[in-house]
Symmetry: C2
Subunit: 253 residues, 2 copies
Amino acid sequence: MLATKNLIYICGLMNNKPVLHTILSPRLLDIYDVSNSIVVIIDVFRATSTISTALFNGAAKVIPVDNVAKCIELGNATLNSITAGERDGKIIEGLAHGNSPAEYPRSFVEGKTLVLTTTNGTKLLHMALKKGADEVITGSFTNLSAVCDHLAAQQKNVILGCSAWKDKFNLEDTLFAGAVISRIKEQFTVHCDSSLMAEDMYHLHKNDMKDFIRHTTHWHRLAAFGLEKDLEYCVSEDVANILPVYKNGALTV
Amino acid sequence: MLATKNLIYICGLMNNKPVLHTILSPRLLDIYDVSNSIVVIIDVFRATSTISTALFNGAAKVIPVDNVAKCIELGNATLNSITAGERDGKIIEGLAHGNSPAEYPRSFVEGKTLVLTTTNGTKLLHMALKKGADEVITGSFTNLSAVCDHLAAQQKNVILGCSAWKDKFNLEDTLFAGAVISRIKEQFTVHCDSSLMAEDMYHLHKNDMKDFIRHTTHWHRLAAFGLEKDLEYCVSEDVANILPVYKNGALTV
C-alpha cells in the first residue's frame, strides 16, 4: 500500500512545486529545514509594518538590532541615521524615536538609515540566518502583495515565520501568514497544520479584521498606550507595498 | 491611564476566576507557569483517546512510558499487564498490542494494567510533572465532558497542553482545546491568543469534524495504515467519558 503522505509528496515533486510551511513561534524554527528556503519574518505589531513603511517612504535602509546598546553604537557610527525602539509603548532612553510606522513619513525618513531595535522579529531574523536561510525578507499586511508576488515568482521553498510575543503564539502574525497562503497556495505544496489553521483563521476574519484584532492579547498590550490607529494601520493591506530584503546586515528594497 | 490588560487582570481577580491557557506544543510549555495548575495532556490521535477508552472499559490503570525498553521492563514486572505501542502504524517488536482504542474492549482490558509507550503525550506529561503541575489529567473528545466537569468544579488555574507531533503544531489537539474552552470559558479568565484561536477553530469545524480531520497532516500519516475508523472514534464526544488522573506513576479513574 502506498502511504497517502508519500502520494502527496510524490504529487508535489511531480508538479515541481516547492514546499511552504508556517512556524508559529521562534521556538519551533529549528524543527524545520530552512536551508534553501526563503524565510519571511512576520512581526505585524509593529516591527515589520514599520520596516516596510520606512522603506516605502524612501529610507535608505533599515538595520534591525536586538539590543539597545548596539542600536546606539550603530546610530553613532552611521551618517544620517535614526535610532529607534520602544519598550512598553515608550521610546527607550538613549534612542531618538519609537516603533510606530506613523513616525516615519517621507518628509522625515527619506534617505536616512533607520537603526531599529526590536525583540521578537529581530531574534527570529537572526535565527533564520544562522540556520542557513537562502533569503530573508520581511512581511506584514502593509506589504502583502509585494511578499506574495516575490514568493510566487521565486518558486523556492518558503517558511512563513511568525515572530510571536516572547515566543508565545500570536494571532496577528498568524493571520498574515494565512493571507499569504490564501493568495499563493496553488503554486506550493502546503501540507502542514499550522498553514491550514492560519488560512482558516484568515478567511474567518478577513472581513472583520479591524474589529477582530481588538480581541488579541497584543491589542490589549498596545492599545493601553493609545496605539489603536497604529494597529489598524498594521493590518491594512498594501499601504506600504515594497519588499524589504535582508542583505549585508540591513533591509533594503 | 489604567492599562486595559491591567483592567482585565483586575476583573479576573475581582471575579475570583482562575486563569486558563492553551499550549500548542511541548516546546512552549516552559514559557508558562504550570505550578498550582491542572495540566490537561491532550493527544487526540491517539494516546489520550486510547487511555480514556481502556480505563472506561475497566482497565485497573494505564502506565504511560516514553520508551520501549521501559515498557517491556514494566510489563514483565507487573501482574496481569499488557504492553502496547506502535511506530508507523505497526505494533513495536517486543510489545504485545498497538495504540488503537479499538483494541481495548471491556472483554479484553478489564482489570488489567496497560503499559503504553507513546512519544508526544508521555513527553508532555513528564514535562508538566517536572515543572510542578498541581495535577495532571488526560483529555480527548472521548472524555470531553468528564474533563470539563472536573475543571469547572476544581476552580484552579488550567493549562490545556497539546502534545503536538514531534513538537509541531497539530489541529486535532487544538480542536479539543477549543471544545473545552467553548464549554467552560465563563468560569475562567481566558486571555491568550492560543485559546482564542482554538475556540474559533472548534466553532468553525464542530459540525464537520469527521470531514475536517481528513485535511490534517496526522490523518494523512495514520489513514495510510487503514486507521480511518480509529481517527473518527477519537473525535467522537464522550464515548469513553471518564477522567484519567495521574498519580504515583499511573493513570487511574
